[in-house]
Structure formats: C-alpha cells, structure tokens
C-alpha cells in the first residue's frame, strides 16, 4: 500500500467506525466486567483512533524515507504492535479519562479486543476494501 496522510486518517476512521464498532459491541455484550461495564471497549477504540491520528503523522515520516513511499504489510504489522503496546502502557499508567482506576487486564481483555480489531482491519485493507471503492487504492487510501 502507498497511503497518503489524508488516506491514512480516512481509512483509519473508516475501519474503526465500522469493524471497530462492531467488534467493540460484541465485546461489550459478551465480556463486560462488573463495575467496569462494556463501554470501556468503546473508550479504547476512541483512543486507538485519537492516538492513531498522531501515529499516522509519524508513519508518513517513515514512508518518506523510502524511495517507493510505500508501506509494506510487514510495516503495518509492526506499526500495529507498537501502537498497541504504547496504548496499553498509557492505559495501564492510569489517568486516561474514561478508563477505570484498576486499568484493563492485558491478556484477557485488551489484547483480544485490540488484536481482533487490528487483525480484521488489516485483512480488510489488504483487498476487500477495494471492492467497495475502486478509487481507494489510487487515491492513497482516501475515501473522499
């Protein structure tokens, strides 16, 4: 893929707004902890989007060091891991509005939720996305 910054932002918001919302809803319904509530998955999703907008600026910087200005899938995987870890550390450090005092357990809650959202988004952007928009791949991942 060869996303542009606008394309990254739009694609990110699109997949989080669709796949992300559906997955979060499923988690909210099936893995809601007493005293915390299912809403926390949506809060996490919100932070993935919010911090992601900043991450995308950094990733575009990396792309500019590459002759092809491309973003191979392997980079996307690395980016997903880094983004996820940093987000978890921030959550765990406490103080992020909307996140419960006691934090979110990594292995049983954060990882499955974040991981599934990421994986489905990744797979979606590797091809099926183009079926809905023939322009998408020619316009750096922009939808409008």
């Amino acid at each position: 893929m060869t996303p542009s910054l606008a394309g990254r932002w739009q694609s990110r918001l699109f997949v989080l707004g669709t796949i992300g919302v559906i997955v979060s809803a499923l988690f909210a319904v099936s893995l809601s902890d007493p005293g915390v509530g299912g809403g926390v998955y949506f809060v996490i999703l919100f932070y993935v989007a919010l911090f992601g907008l900043a991450w995308d600026v950094a990733f575009i910087g990396v792309q500019r060091l590459r002759w092809d200005r491309d973003w191979p899938p392997v980079f996307q995987v690395a980016a997903g891991i880094v983004e996820g870890l940093v987000l978890f550390l921030l959550i765990d450090g406490g103080g992020l509005p909307g996140i419960p005092e006691q934090g979110v357990p990594f292995g049983s809650r954060f990882l499955p939720h974040y991981g599934l959202v990421w994986l489905l988004s990744f797979l979606w952007l590797q091809g099926p996305m183009r079926v809905l928009s023939t322009r998408w791949r020619f316009f750096g991942g922009r939808l409008v």
Partner: protein, 662 residues
C-alpha cells in the same frame, strides 16, 4: 586501433613513490616496496610484497598478497578482484591508474548466408522501405500496406475537413455504424477501458472496439517474447496490477498461492504470500508469471464478450462529425479487398500503444548504411537468430542500455552460456553509476552498474503521495518530478544480481564506459563500436563484437503514429513538456471535445501529464477509471453507465468471481 592501447598498463603519480608507468605482461606482476618486486613502489604504507596483477589475455585480476595496509578497488578492500575499465585501484596509499587494452577478440566470421530475417515489428508492413525500418521499429501502424481493391473509401477531401459530414458520408455510400462507446486500438489499454465500462453496467452492444489484433494482448505478448519474457517467465508487475480485474483483488500472488495450496504445495504458497507481505522491504518483490496474466485476460475477455464488441480493422483517422459525435474511419482487409467504413459514437478512448520503438541513432545509422540487420538488433524485435548463432559458434555481444530489458537479455545469454561457454558480454554504459537517483531523503540502490527499483516508477506514483503531487503540479514541475523519479532501472531480482556478479567474477561479463562516436563494420565482418572512453579521459576505445543488442527501447513521439499525427495536425493538439499528447487530469483531450462527444486516451502517448505510470496495467486502469468518472460527470447521460462503488461494485465483483457476465 592505436598501438599504445593494446596493453594493460598501470601508472602512478605519488608524492612518495614518485611517478611511473608499467606495461603489464602476460602472467604475474608483483607490486611492492621490496627491491625485487616487479614494480617497486617506495612508500611507507606499501608492504614489501603488496599486491599481484595477474594478466590472462584480456582478463586482469588484482590479488592482495596479505599486505598490512590493504589493496583497494573503488574504495573497497579486496583480496582478489577482476579489474574492469574505470576501476580505481589503490595499493596502500598509492593510487594506480589502470588502462585496459582495446578489445580485439578472435574473429568469428559469419556465414554470409546470415541475412536479417524480416525481424522488424510491423503489423502488416511487408515491403516497407528499408530506411523506415532501419531507423525505427514501427508497429503502431505500418507505413505501407499491401495493394488491394478498396471498397467504400471515405473521399480524401472529406477527411481534409476537421468536421466530417455524416450526411455526405451516407451520400458517398460510406457505411456508418452508430455506437455509444468506442475503444480504439484494441490493445491492453482498450481492454481495461472496455472491461471497466462493462463492469460499470454498459451492455456489450453499446461498445465497439476497433483494433488490428484479435486478442487484446497480441502486441504486448510479441514485445514480451522478443525481449525474452516467455510465457513461463515473470513480468515486472505488481501482484495487484490485474488487467482482468479492476479491483486488483485477489491479486496474482494470492491466486498463485491458492493454486499451490490446491496442488498440495504449501511451502510454495507460503513463500508467495510472504513476498507480498514483506515486499520490497524484507522480501523480494513478487511479480506474476506472464502466461498467467494472458490466461486471466482470456478468461475476462470471454466473460465481457470481447469478440462480440471487437471490429477488426485499421483505424485510419479520428474525426469530429457534424452531428456532434466522434468518428473513427476504419478499413478492414478481407484478404482480397479492403473495406472502409465509419463508426460514430459519443464517447471514445484511443490507446494505440507505442507509436514506434527507435534504435539508438548510431545503430540506426549503421543499419541504414550497411543494410545489416543481423549484427545489430533491437531487443524488441525478433532476434532469436542472434542467440542461435551464439549457441552454435560462441561470440561476443555488446549490450547497450541498463534497464530491465538488458537484464532479460543478459539472463538469456547466461542461459545460452550453459550450451556454449564461449559467449562473452560487453556492457556499454555512458558513465559509471556511483549512486542511484535521489529524491527527498530517499535514494535508489546501485549494484554492478544496475540501478534497482521494483517497478519503473516509485510505487506511490500509482496511487500514493507522489501521484497526488504530480497531479497538483504544473507542467514544468511535472517534467522535473518525472526526471527525478524515472530513469533506467531494473528489478532487484536475486538471480539477476547473482548472474552479473558471477559474470564479473568469471570474466565473461565486462562493463565499458563511454559515449559512442560511431559504429562501423569491422574488417572481419563483425561490428566495431568506437567509444570516447570515460575511463581513460580523452582516449578512444574500440570494441569489436559479433553483435550489438540495443536494449534501450527508445520510444518515438506521438507524431510517429499516423493516426495521432493526423489528429495533432487537424485539431492543433497541444503537447506536454515531454512532447507527448497533453491531456487533462481525466485523460481527456480537451481539443477534441465536441457538442456531445468526449475523447480520451491512455498509455505511453500521455507521459508527461498528470500521471507517471501511464504505460502500465495499473496506470491504464487508472486512466480508464478517470475517463469513466469524467463521462459519468459529463451530464450527458451515458447509456447504461453506473458508478462502480459500494454494493453495486460488490455485486459486480461477485459476478467476476463466479465468472458470469457482468
């Protein structure tokens, strides 16, 4: 041939070791500080026995003899190295200038029976004047046609008018066929345009394709085969560049992996997927097998009803008509007569491919003066006779050009060396490539004088930041950007890189540097190239070889296509800074816009405009997409056409996957 250039020589100018020169004899020459060295270099950083030159005929190897301060070639410390013209050699602190002899190899007299086969790519150019063919490989349109009775000819004076009168045509007895969409050319560009129209809802009966080949990839395939890409070889193309599928999904890699899975080849499937996952950063770039691409086009052609839409014939002219339409004047040969007719419609796209491929001017001159088409060939013409001869008799080949075609020709020669090891290659470069092109903070990699890049443009020219940038730039800036991103490159394929290194190591591959002054027949019936050498300033190098293969692939300008030339004259069409047709961002030719007609184009003739990768599958799809979007936005109610997006696009994709008509 000047006598002082017949030997290998070394020379030095050094504050400590003084000045000197030495002619290297056959065999060994030891360089060192010791009195009994063959060449004494009295400098503290030179060891007593420092290095050894080993000359074996034309081959000169430099060995380090375990010196303390090292022997360097082009700045790199070596232990053993085959020297090539232009190499910088340093022994300890002393720089040595190494001059190489003029190459004069054993004569291989060619049997006079070898005359050139009509190897030139023409569509139906039998009898074309020799001078036309020597300078250029015309194939957009052959200049000469076989004489046969003509039927229904559009009178010349009618064609001299920029607006063709449809009534007058009828009165003159010319058959006029009506259509909504016209795809002119019938090649790969026309195919992807037609395919997009069909998947966007247009009925086959509303489309007329006009071209002089039955299958859309006919010419493309010929060029591939001539330039040594047989059906089993891989192209230089992305997995997602699928002329048979506008979505580029699933790509060729996925399809190939799926096939591998089904035949139980899990390892192969994994390695294919790994390629597209890691390319080009951690894996070698995937490229599809040529035969797979043709097969996929065949399947899609059948699905969209290509044969039904195709009208085989030669386009003679494109005109506006007095009924506000655009018309193509066509002739179709039945073998015994030529029938002329006119097809008129509202929306036309022409994709006529390369107007012509030119020989390098010095080679064209040689051909014109000698009529010899055997020793000097263009890689895009049929030149199998060269390889046949080499396999049988051995010989030396000069390769000109360092792009992808040069790599393919080299691969072919390497394969032929397995049959006859007496095949040698001289690769002529204008100058030494020290580093690759640079743009912003990134640069291309160079190895053994080849500059690498997965495709012929940086990837994001197809659909990333660089595409955006080019489109938003003005003409002058576009020319500048294209200069920065383009240039001659080849793919970084492990096998190619290895074979070049092997050639260098074994001495059968040798680069030379300089610009060609002239190419002349040698006394022994071969070809001598006189070069102003850049390795040894001011000297002329003469290289005599059995063959010269022009791998540059110089494309001729649009004026070389008779149809486009005529259009340019008739409608005063502007050109872009690269001398190609000026199109707007939708690939439309505004100069041909008419009351109720729009004309678009695609392919190599538009280079220099809003998009860099115009001559590629994906670029052709992009042009088609832009044209179709522009038709949709024209407010002209194009028949049957719908925007291909959302659920409708999904539905069409499912039909594609099922293999049923759109």
């Amino acid at each position: 041939m000047s006598p002082e250039r017949s030997d290998h020589k070394i020379a030095w100018e050094d504050p400590e070791a003084g000045d000197g020169a030495y002619t290297l004899p056959e065999g060994d020459t030891v360089v060192g500080r010791a009195e009994d060295a063959d060449v004494v270099l009295n400098s503290p950083l030179v060891s007593r026995s420092h290095a050894r030159f080993e000359r074996a005929g034309l081959r000169l190897t430099l060995h380090d003899l375990g010196s303390s301060n090292g022997t360097f070639v082009n700045g790199e410390r070596i232990t053993e190295h085959v020297l090539r013209p232009g190499d910088n050699v340093r022994v300890g602190s002393v720089a040595l200038t190494v001059t190489h002899p003029v190459v004069e190899q054993q004569a291989t007299v060619l049997a006079p029976a070898f005359t050139v086969a009509e190897g030139v790519l023409t569509d139906d150019g039998a009898g074309a004047p020799a001078s036309m063919l020597t300078a250029v490989l015309p194939f957009a349109d052959s200049p000469v046609e076989e004489a046969m009775p003509e039927r229904g000819v559009v009178p010349d004076e009618m064609l001299r008018d920029p607006v063709l009168s449809e009534e007058a045509l009828a009165a003159a007895g010319v058959e006029v066929t009506e259509t909504e969409y016209m795809a002119l050319g019938g090649g790969v560009g026309s195919f992807v345009f037609t395919d997009l129209l069909r998947t966007s809802g247009v009925a086959a009966s509303d489309i007329t394709v006009i071209g002089n080949e039955r299958v859309p990839y006919a010419r493309y395939q010929r060029l591939c085969i001539n330039s040594q890409i047989p059906a089993s070889e891989r192209l230089r193309s992305n997995s997602d560049s699928c002329p048979d599928n506008v979505w580029g999904f699933p790509g060729y890699a996925t399809r190939e992996a799926w096939r591998a899975v089904r035949s139980g080849n899990l390892g192969e499937a994994a390695s294919l997927l790994w390629s597209i996952f890691g390319e080009p950063a951690v894996a070698q770039t995937y490229t599809p097998i040529s035969g797979d691409v043709f097969d996929s086009i065949d399947r899609e052609a059948e699905r969209i009803g290509w044969d039904e839409m195709l009208r085989e014939g030669r386009i003679r002219a494109i005109r506006k008509t007095d009924r506000g339409r655009v018309a193509a004047v066509v002739s179709t040969s039945t073998g015994t007569e030529r029938r002329h007719s006119v097809v008129a419609g509202r929306f036309a796209q022409f994709a006529l491919g390369y107007p012509a491929i030119q020989m390098l001017p010095d080679l064209a001159t040689y051909r014109e003066q000698t009529g010899d088409h055997f020793h000097i060939v263009n890689a895009y013409e049929d030149h199998d006779a060269v390889y046949e001869h080499l396999r049988e008799h051995g010989g030396t080949v000069m390769i000109r050009g360092r792009g992808i075609v040069a790599s393919r020709v080299l691969q072919k020669l390497w394969e032929d060396r397995a049959v006859n090891p007496n095949i040698n290659v001289v690769h002529l470069h204008r100058s030494r490539l020290a580093e690759g092109h640079q743009y912003g903070r990134s640069a291309r990699k160079v190895e053994e004088q080849f500059e690498f890049q997965p495709f012929n443009w940086p990837k994001s020219c197809w659909g990333g930041e660089l595409r955006d940038l080019l489109e938003s730039s003005d003409d002058a800036k576009r020319a500048e950007l294209l200069g920065a991103w383009g240039g001659t490159t080849t793919a970084s394929r492990d096998d190619w890189r290895e074979l070049v290194k092997q050639g260098v190591r074994e001495g059968w591959y040798r680069p030379e540097f300089g610009s060609v002054r002239e190419v002349v027949p040698s006394d022994d019936g071969r070809v001598t190239t006189r070069i102003d050498s850049t390795a040894a300033e001011g000297s002329t190098l003469e290289v005599t070889t059995d063959f010269v293969i022009d791998c540059v692939g110089l494309e001729a300008g649009p004026e070389r296509s008779p149809v486009i030339h005529d259009l340019m004259e008739m409608y005063d069409l502007p050109l872009n800074p690269l001398g190609r047709l000026k199109v707007n961002d939708d690939f439309e030719l505004p100069g041909l816009r008419h009351d109720s007609a729009r004309v678009y184009t695609a392919g190599a003739v538009t280079l220099g405009g809003p998009y860099a990768a115009v001559d590629s599958f994906l670029g052709l799809q992009y042009s088609a997409l832009r044209a179709v979007e522009s038709i949709l936005a024209s407010g002209m109610q194009p028949r049957g056409l719908r925007p291909l997006r959302g659920l409708y696009s999904f539905k069409q994709w499912v039909r594609w996957a099922q293999g049923v008509a759109p």
